[in-house]
């Protein structure tokens, strides 16, 4: 039921967001039409961060309560977060090409996202490398906590590093037109709904796998 509502909501928002981006919002003067990437680029970043925050909270809760559901929530959110971060990196890189003539720029936010991406890939890998799933859950929770607390320090260090070695900066800020703000806000809601939808789906999937495992055990011991 919840996933039906979320599916409908995200579809409606998605269409609205696309309509706003392609038909309503005015073209930004300095960057031209590619600036419209911004309206999805930013929500992706925002929701990656939200996803990793959820991983952090669920990891703390898992270590505290030791209930499987917290672990399922954490790992599902990490996976969706990695998908969002990947898309954020791709969109940032495609945006950099026409504006700066390069596919990659060591812009602080982009660089921080790259480091984050690597941390959460490691998060997903630790689970696979652990010798038992309970251990994997515990180790992943530790990485989820440590990794998230690392984010502000990573961002600070990269920002400070860039101010000393200046280079291309994607976010020149300045949303002059109210229609731009509206589009951004709608897009942020769109991706938040998408995040919620994917999370709910992924959690249900993982719970199903868990049930299947339990059933199989039951069938074996019959």
């Amino acid at each position: 039921m919840l996933s039906r509502i979320l599916l409908a909501l995200s579809l409606v928002l998605l269409v609205t967001s696309l309509a706003l981006i392609f038909f309503v919002v005015p073209t930004e003067r300095t960057m031209g039409v590619v600036q419209r990437i911004f309206y999805w680029h930013v929500p992706l970043a925002w929701n990656s961060f939200l996803a990793f925050f959820v991983v952090f909270i669920a990891s703390v809760a898992y270590l505290w309560k030791r209930t499987k559901n917290w672990d399922i929530l954490a790992s599902a959110s990490a996976e969706v977060g990695v998908v969002f971060t990947t898309l954020f990196l791709i969109s940032g890189s495609i945006w950099a090409k026409p504006i700066w003539g390069v596919w990659w720029t060591w812009e602080p936010r982009l660089t921080t996202a790259l480091v984050l991406w690597l941390i959460y890939i490691a998060y997903l890998l630790v689970r696979a490398y652990a010798s038992s799933s309970e251990r994997g859950a515990r180790f992943a929770a530790v990485v989820g906590i440590v990794g998230f607390l690392d984010v502000p320090i990573v961002f600070l260090s990269i920002t400070l590093w860039r101010t000393q070695h200046p280079s291309a900066v994607i976010f020149t800020g300045g949303l002059a037109d109210p229609r731009m703000i509206l589009t951004l806000v709608v897009s942020i809601f769109t991706f938040t709904a998408l995040y919620a939808l994917l999370l709910v789906q992924r959690v249900a999937f993982k719970k199903g796998e868990e049930d299947l495992r339990r059933l199989k055990r039951l069938a074996e011991s019959e």
Partner: protein, 247 residues
């Protein structure tokens, strides 16, 4: 917390203990009381949960559910106090190969806050008959010698309770004999001993009480004196036969 008086003479009290590894139930509801000064020997086929039980009692593995009291101390809340009362001997000697036996014992002595450490190291080394090799590196020792020092290490802090997980693994006959001699001395000293072993004969000889475990449960319990070797062998065979073919 339960006060010491309520506990009376129970060294170990285990209630409804379970432990699962992922989905595998290694321990499925263990209830066990061990009186102070008792020598409890646990038998059972491989995979019966003996090692898991010893590891839970020695606070290495946490229980999935149930309670474990060591001398009235719940190991959940008072793990450190409980650890002080326990001496553990397992398949591994827990000795650092690059250090001499003396340095190893000194190290563990510091962790346990053993008073008058030097004298105590001398005492336990004499007990296991290894005084001559005390200052040699552990890496130069045979398996049997390492295990002798492992026993010395476990006795170092005068534990009230000795937990031994198949301590005779890899030992030569002489070392096994010595180990048993030491343990008998320990039992006589009103020290509680809990041990797992495959050796029915020697186990029976030492035990004041014995258990057989199978598939995570205690399936047989008998007094050491009322049971002879033939009876134990029969009971053990019954259990393994049952465990061997489920249904």
């Amino acid at each position: 917390m339960i006060s010491r008086d309520d506990v009376g003479d129970k060294a170990i009290e285990v209630r409804k203990l379970t432990r699962t590894f992922d989905d595998f139930p290694a321990l499925r509801g263990i209830d066990l009381e061990v009186a102070r000064g008792e020598s409890l020997v646990i038998f059972g086929p491989n995979g019966a949960g003996k090692t898991t039980l010893i590891r839970v009692l020695s606070t290495i593995i946490r229980p999935s559910s149930g309670t474990v009291l060591i001398d009235g101390l719940n190991i959940k809340e008072h793990a450190e106090k409980a650890r002080r009362l326990i001496g553990v001997v397992s398949h591994h000697p827990f000795l650092y190969a690059n250090l001499s036996a003396y340095e190893n014992l000194e190290f563990y002595g510091r962790l346990y806050d053993v008073p008058d450490l030097k004298t105590r190291i001398g005492e336990v080394t004499t007990l296991v008959g290894m005084t001559a090799r005390l200052h040699d590196r552990v890496s130069t020792f045979s398996r049997g010698m390492q295990q002798r020092f492992a026993i010395a290490r476990a006795l170092l802090h005068r534990p009230q309770i000795m937990l031994l997980d198949e301590p005779e693994t890899g030992l030569d006959q002489q070392a096994v004999a010595l180990l048993w001699e030491v343990l008998r001395g320990e039992a006589a000293a009103r020290r509680t001993v809990v041990m797992t072993t495959h050796n029915l004969e020697r186990g029976l000889d030492l035990a004041s009480r014995l258990l057989i475990m199978s598939r995570g449960k205690i399936v047989f319990e008998g007094g050491g004196k009322s049971l002879d070797l033939a009876g134990l062998k029969q009971a053990y065979q019954d259990v393994t036969a049952e465990a061997g073919c489920p249904q």
